[in-house]
Assembly symmetry: C2
């Protein structure tokens, strides 16, 4: 059990551990050392031991970690044992791509509905889910009580709709918009995906790249 | 000037500073305190002072930071003064959404070409750029020498194409695929965007949310 809240940096690494261990488990690997995990992930072995020790340290000196046990424990820490229901707002290219990620995830998330304001999209299918008009959002939420809303909307539209979502019982936002709801809605769980910021980070990395070739 | 390499956590905050300062500058704000930045960003004021002191500390006790000067310095640190040329591989929903981000960015990135293996897409326009068939990639790269490749491809396709990209002089990857090129190509600058991992992070946040309502 974690003794305190997981720091942001550790939290960013947990999904990496989870995915790798899932792959190892599916390949029939029973035990893995922190050094082997380090080679696959590009973190140091001591970093990995330090991270995993937060959760009780499932490793045995010289024997490594039990893959299935560690993967199960990280799944529990990530909350993947609980089924989550989600709606997605905005059925443009981004919304469709993100819907694909949700369908592929199968880590406890279930997409219940997709909404867009464009009437020409209403009824179109994404996988087997029909796009609904945004006017039906309130009624849908009152009936199906989705816990998560995925915002694939422009910033101003996201800002305008977030109060309704909170009032309708949505507890978490997977937010791809330029609006950051976390300050206005401290009780919501918010995960912001900022593609523009990621591009700036790439620019930094490119500028500070080792100049191995001239 | 930074004395040493920027840690990953600081690097993730730099784009946030940059965007906020850009907004302030465009609104005509001349000076800003670390406390005001903290309120907008949700970091602590001391965190912000510590981050910015890495780069010489442009603030004056009691006077705050000069907005334009600080923004310019962060732009320099992020390498935004340099024009970057990019190609995008994979013109599905994700590729189209990411192309939109690149077009909107205007922070020194220029998208030169979009490629897909689907012949039915060849010639379709995204904004004013025609989708090209992937068979023309080598010739295009030899002529235009793009520095950045954006991988909106399945993992196995991304893995298969990365050696060619490196051989063709591409120096950086903005990678949306499940394949992580950083271990195989240490000389490339790689920025991975892992949407699936972001979803797991949301699951964690939702599980550890303060239970303010029952």
């Amino acid at each position: 059990m974690p003794k305190e809240q997981t720091p942001e940096a550790v939290l960013r690494r947990l999904p990496r551990y989870y995915r790798l261990l899932e792959g190892l488990k599916n390949s029939g690997v029973v035990r893995v050392s922190s050094r082997e995990l380090a080679e696959q992930l590009g973190f140091t072995a001591s970093q990995i031991r330090q991270d995993l020790n937060r959760y009780g340290g499932f490793g045995q000196q010289g024997y490594g970690y039990n893959v299935a046990q560690l993967q199960g424990e990280i799944a529990r820490i990530l909350g993947l044992q609980t089924r989550r229901t989600a709606i997605l707002l905005g059925a443009g290219n981004l919304g469709r791509a993100v819907a694909g990620t949700l369908f592929a995830a199968a880590d406890g998330f279930e997409l219940l509905g997709i909404f867009d304001r464009k009437e020409s999209l209403t009824g179109q299918l994404i996988r087997k889910l029909p796009i609904r008009h945004i006017d039906g959002l309130d009624e849908f939420c009152r009936e199906y009580r989705p816990q998560v809303a995925v915002l694939c909307l422009p910033g101003e539209t996201a800002r305008a709709i977030t109060p309704s979502l909170a009032a309708l019982g949505v507890r978490a936002l997977w937010n791809f918009s330029a609006y950051d709801p976390s300050a206005d809605f401290p009780s919501l769980a918010v995960e912001n995906v900022r593609l523009g910021d990621s591009l700036l980070t790439l620019s930094y990395k490119l500028s500070h790249q080792k100049e191995e070739r001239l």
